[in-house]
Symmetry: C2
Subunit: 68 residues, 2 copies
Amino acid sequence: MKTKIRELRNKHKITQEELALAVGVTRQTITSIEREKYTASLVLAYKIARYFNMAIEEIFDFSEVEEI
Amino acid sequence: MKTKIRELRNKHKITQEELALAVGVTRQTITSIEREKYTASLVLAYKIARYFNMAIEEIFDFSEVEEI
DNA sequence: TTAATATGTAAAGTTAACTATACAAAGGGG
DNA sequence: CCCCTTTGTATAGTTAACTTTACATATTAA
């Protein structure tokens, strides 16, 4: 899933490691999510959104999710 | 994790099975999430939110998630 | 009371999210 | 150039989300 994490991280000038630490996961998890290796869990998505002071839907791109 | 799914489902007068079908999971998944057996994935949370025309944060209760 | 509908639960299996460790490669600053 | 920081990637392992099947229980309607 596409996300704005890298973009936001650059804007805030923090590394993957710093973000990982802030939200309580490993750097590999952040790397994997940025590189779309897998999708964040709901709780992690929330923590990342909180960190950047945004809503989950503003950071994670659900446009590929099949419409209901 | 606490959610408003049951409450919303009752308000909309739909069964677990109907919601499950609408968002593309099994009834057991809805049951388990309502009974807090486990937390929905990000995509499922999004689909449920879309179904009820709400934001993810309005349906899922993140108050127990450790502050960052 | 019986049937039908809605929900709870259980167990076993699969897949995806995440950890841990480790090493390679890219890029900038001295 | 060389060092240092940041990022990419790989592999193996664990845990949690979700499926499938099946049966039990509660509630309502006929």
